[in-house]
Symmetry: C2
Amino acid sequence: MSQRRIAVLAHEKFPGGAKTALGVMRYSDDETVAVIDRDTAGDRVADHETTVPDAPIVDSFDAVEGAVDALLIGIAPIGGGFDDSWRSDVVAALEQGVDVVAGLHYFLSEDEEFAALAAEHGAELHDVRKPHPGIGVAEGRSADIDAEVVLTVGTDCSVGKMTATCELVDTAQKMGIDAGFIPTGQTGIMIAGWGNPVDRVVSDFTAGAVEEMLLEKGDEYDVLFVEGQGSIIHPAYSAVTCGILHGAMADKLVLCHEAGREVVHGYEETVLPPVSEYVDLYESLAAPVHETEVVGGAINTSQIETDDSATAAVEEYADEIGGTATDPIRFGCEELVEELVGEFK
Amino acid sequence: MSQRRIAVLAHEKFPGGAKTALGVMRYSDDETVAVIDRDTAGDRVADHETTVPDAPIVDSFDAVEGAVDALLIGIAPIGGGFDDSWRSDVVAALEQGVDVVAGLHYFLSEDEEFAALAAEHGAELHDVRKPHPGIGVAEGRSADIDAEVVLTVGTDCSVGKMTATCELVDTAQKMGIDAGFIPTGQTGIMIAGWGNPVDRVVSDFTAGAVEEMLLEKGDEYDVLFVEGQGSIIHPAYSAVTCGILHGAMADKLVLCHEAGREVVHGYEETVLPPVSEYVDLYESLAAPVHETEVVGGAINTSQIETDDSATAAVEEYADEIGGTATDPIRFGCEELVEELVGEFK
């Protein structure tokens, strides 16, 4: 999609609690003209976070300077609700005819005030987590596409699958590979500007929601990197993981993990099995539908202070996987891309 | 639930193509006062099918004799649509104040004519495939309930999981075991008169939809038999299977199969792996969330003519599983129940 100028709402949460904001600022083609956060207003983004482009931080949409194409809700409270303290910013944007993009479970397009303002001022409300009504049952056809398919899978939620996927795509493109990104969650969809929210479709259509995207993009790229979700042993979200695994019919897998994670986040009674067990589980579960292999791993070492310790963690992880591993943010991922899809350079 | 007197609509499909009708007639507490099928009208149920209670077959709802509490749609076309040739029967029922129960993807309660008639005549429209809005994310709590949980899992769709589950419940109850049934699909929900349509909830809530039912019934029974769905290697429906597996946190599994099935129904490129591989997959995938074991198997031998050949198929299947096996319809399932939950007699 063409580059838009966006304002990113992240009240009281920037940058630590604003995963969506950081993801979009880091990876999308959009230009962030301002972050809206009443707590850090007056500072600049660079005062807090150096891994994303700099921008001013302001306290409200009205304080954003210059033309803006869209206001993007860059935070998601637990449960995906809409915080009414954001209402005045959304109203201000709509009154200026500015589109609003959100990935909440609460759909802005079903809010009477927002819907009326959008209609009145010719602005659009994009609820990226609202599946389009045409999604249906998978037909087992993803393997028919021309592109090589790489899927990120995880040992848990929130270990960095979306980040790893975006880094793999960016690095592959820089290496001259014709690589595309298949988003499956709200942040990925905001980054890409399109996509099916796989965790929000009817459960019978989980694999179908992935297949539809692969069939749509399959002949446009040499390589497609599919953003994974959850973990195959997650007590709540494994259904989504399994549906993506079989729906994507991936040729290669990248196992994502956070260094030091020992139990499932929020489900402390569920201990993470050894990494080698994940490799076996993902490969043996995928095989009857489409043979695949865990070729490498991405490990999030952001909680490890020194590069030496992080390097040690990466090396240990590579051994456990029996493949190439890296922390793509800390150490880059050229070698992993080479290993995965080097033949497409 | 209390016994209702029901008319079962199965136009042009009774009995072979009316899986829902047969399931409800065989296992629910409801009394079937008539089957409605314009093709076989004038015959009796017993002329076509001897495994369910006999009843007259008539050509329309108006031809049903005696009092009726509910009209039940006992057939489901591919895609779950509503066939307009059934409309006059639904209208006739509603005009007499008779409730209508359906498990279609098309919701009768959202049909303007039906909704208006139901309101006017004080009848209820039950769309059993419409999830209630309170279903949410699983909390990993199913193992906290008192009841022993047995889950049926399958090598494919349509191999007899629902039938096996109902036979296990009925047999256990006859053996004096305080056993309950946890339905997860439309026919099971019609039989039980309650339940969450797990294949129709938001994908993130798949495990949660099962957990909610187990938490609700967990202290009322010694043993709960959970109806499984799909298969863990199904190209389209594995998400639902995986969500049920982790959401149920079952203590024991029963692997269901149809004798002679070699490829996934409707996905002929996907060859069924050996039975022993299913056992490994289900057990190893479940273990990180809750340790479980495939204790036995149910094999559908309805396509095998002689009892000798069926017995041979059962014995071979038992060997492959490494446990007790049976065709519960043909040979009963007392031994399997004894093996699974004999200690609760």
